[in-house]
């Protein structure tokens, strides 16, 4: 599948696919919320669409002395970053930009989320929002290094940072089988950089919504959509790195990619609801003393296996 030259016009399709995946994630979350509140599940599934319509018509809330430029940049950043990530994520046999450093590109983009989240918190000139931004950065320094080693591990096994070659290297055996720790660390990091589930303290109710305290209307819509889009791209990238990409029986490659991505995305959303919030200040010690050595050990084991097999 390497080197398939694509018409750049397909880039226009990527946002559509991403949008559908993000909407599916939001709908599923709506179902869970509706069930928890004892409402019919279908009303929950329709919730995201209604929410989009509501936010599109809502007037912007204005705060005193807001840093409007940085606030707007932060607000649109998450969605833009998710779109930039799709450039290196394969959909079956197709990939928009199969660059030689695809994995590093994904990593660079998820570091951009640091800036985006903090700017959302900074821009409003509101204490709660700023505390949310700081919380996210405190969390980010905890998850980023384990995430980097989780990304490195499949690259070591495939001898390449090119995403298509990582997918090809899983013809015989999916990487999730012999690097489960890296897979779990990556999945946890996806939740963390999307500020989702147990890692959503940056937007926690205990600080009045944190980074989301003052955002309203279209800004809020872009941020919420951006978080779902980041979750979806994270799931899709995990499929490429650990779950064999598009490989599978009967169905075509691209359909397998989407099916696997949807299953993983549903897993993210379902599991997140069962976990309690993790305080960023408590996370640091666990991430650096337990998770990081585990991730390093996983990389070491994989490196030894690769070296022995030659």
């Amino acid at each position: 599948m390497t080197g398939a030259v694509m018409n750049p016009a397909w880039a226009l399709l990527a946002p559509v696919v991403l949008g559908v995946l993000a909407l599916a994630g939001a709908a599923l979350n709506g179902v869970f919320v509706a069930r928890a509140e004892g409402r019919p599940a279908l009303s929950g599934a329709a919730r995201p669409v209604l929410e989009v319509m509501r936010l599109m018509r809502q007037r912007r809330r204005v705060t005193v002395a807001a840093d409007r430029l940085l606030w707007r940049i932060g607000g649109m950043a998450l969605l833009v970053i998710a779109l930039l990530k799709t450039a290196v994520i394969p959909l079956g046999p197709w990939i928009l930009a199969d660059i030689s450093v695809g994995i590093v590109w994904f990593n660079a983009m998820d570091v951009m989320v640091w800036a985006g989240m903090w700017l959302i918190g900074w821009g409003a000139n509101s204490a709660h929002a700023l505390a949310g931004g700081y919380r996210f950065l405190a969390q980010a320094v905890s998850y980023e290094l384990p995430l980097m080693f989780a990304l490195v591990t499949p690259a070591v096994a495939a001898h390449s940072l090119r995403v298509s070659e990582v997918v090809d290297a899983q013809q015989d055996l999916w990487f999730v089988v012999w690097m489960p720790v890296a897979f779990l660390v990556f999945c946890g990091s996806v939740l963390a950089f999307s500020a989702w589930g147990p890692f959503a303290t940056a937007a926690g109710a205990d600080i009045a919504g944190g980074i989301l305290t003052e955002v309203s209307g279209v800004d809020r819509l872009l941020i919420m959509a951006g978080r779902y889009a980041l979750l979806a791209t994270g799931a899709a990238f995990a499929v490429a790195l650990f779950l064999g990409g598009g490989s599978g029986p009967l169905l075509p490659d691209w359909l397998w990619t989407i099916v696997k991505t949807l299953v993983l995305l549903a897993g993210f959303i379902a599991v997140s609801r069962r976990l309690s919030a993790i305080r960023p200040d408590r996370l640091a010690e666990v991430a650096w003393i337990v998770v990081l050595p585990l991730a390093l050990l996983q990389t070491l084991v994989v490196s030894i296996i690769v070296a022995v097999r030659g």
Binding site: S100, A108, V111, Y134, R282, E285
Partner: protein
């Protein structure tokens, strides 16, 4: 032609946002203007086919600036930089120093008789540079790196205000460490 236009645009963005660092009145804006400048430089490196270095530059610089913004706001000024403030100080000496150094470097670049290439370029320049740097000096590199690492560890140990005896007691037998702020592992 297109690459010249893109490159020029990136160069202008890099310089303009570099200037903006000193013209804006907020620490957050100055920091992120610098980040924009670095990102433009990173993209320019990618245009030179230095994919890895270019993308890593973007990664490192955005990460650095995100953290730097926190420290700038924490430590800068009497009003912890949450209010508008000037990004420049000591203007006259800064201008004199900057002009002087620019003239010095520019004169060096223009006046030094640069040598002409002798011999032909190696087919793979990266490999050639690696061989030249590391080939005959591997032993030195092997010795230097543990020394550097030991220095880092020693410096951290000396600088650490609270060592393990503070945390775990004189016999290191405390059940849970005595920390001013609880971590996730201390019960």
């Amino acid at each position: 032609m297109l690459s010249i236009i893109v490159f020029s645009a990136l160069a202008i963005i890099a310089v303009a946002s570099g200037i903006a660092v000193f013209r804006v009145d907020s620490m957050a804006r100055a920091t992120y203007a610098l980040a924009v400048s670095f990102v433009a430089v990173g993209v320019m490196l990618v245009m030179f086919d230095l994919d890895y270095i270019g993308v890593i530059t973007i990664l490192m610089m955005v990460m650095e600036m995100a953290i730097m913004a926190i420290y700038m706001i924490m430590f800068m000024g009497m009003n912890p930089a949450l209010m508008p403030m000037s990004m420049v100080h000591n203007n006259r000496w800064s201008a004199i120093l900057a002009t002087g150094i620019f003239l010095l470097l520019a004169a060096g670049a223009l006046l030094v008789p640069w040598p002409a290439r002798s011999g032909t370029a190696a087919p793979d320049l990266t490999v050639a540079v690696g061989e030249a740097l590391m080939g005959s000096k591997m032993l030195v590199m092997l010795t230097v790196s543990p020394i550097l690492f030991a220095t880092i560890v020693a410096a951290l140990v000396l600088a650490n205000p609270r060592g393990r005896y503070d945390r775990w007691g004189d016999n290191l037998k405390r059940v849970c460490p005595d920390d001013p702020q609880q971590g996730g592992l201390g019960k």
